[in-house]
Symmetry: C2
Subunit: 119 residues, 2 copies
Amino acid sequence: MKFKQSIVVRTDLKMGRGKIAAQVAHASCEAVFIALERAIWREWVHKWRMEGQKKVVLKASSESELLELYSKALKKGLPCSLIRDAGLTQLPPNTLTAIAIGPAPEEMVNELTSHLKLL
Amino acid sequence: MKFKQSIVVRTDLKMGRGKIAAQVAHASCEAVFIALERAIWREWVHKWRMEGQKKVVLKASSESELLELYSKALKKGLPCSLIRDAGLTQLPPNTLTAIAIGPAPEEMVNELTSHLKLL
């Protein structure tokens, strides 16, 4: 089986490329931490790592779009993270910037994110 | 104690922002996986997560600069990752794109990376 993580970041916030990269890394790591906490997900994490940690970075254009995706991922039983920025630089405090879905079986992630464009 | 992870990415490769974000996330996650494999580092990972996973994304301008930093981080006994791109898109196969140093105590990471500029 192939495993994958999709990371979705907001482009409407006009973050610089360094800020975007940091938010994407936060979302990616946090979803891994969450996945390591449950036995079935932990196995997905290890297999995903062995396969080379496939990651895809996608874009969304609003907070509501991220929240809807996050909620669908939770309902599907996939590990997912939701990142809010502390707001020390560039953004107002508590701004939702990115989510990550997976690591999980590729087709389960694709069902939720295949309509999104690559960043 | 404060913990931190510095991620250093090459800017001379002219990667797009999505590609940069993916390489930074690879480096960040892989350094976490490496850190989880040793007891002392594992404790650093957990404390770093509790503190909010401070990440800084920095830039370097060559492969040799990344390799030198990576070698210094290894000598200092810090968890670190080195990411080579499979080269399926944008880059020649096996191109060194990014490294991550830490999670580790902030001052140990700063000794190696405080001269670098934010991406």
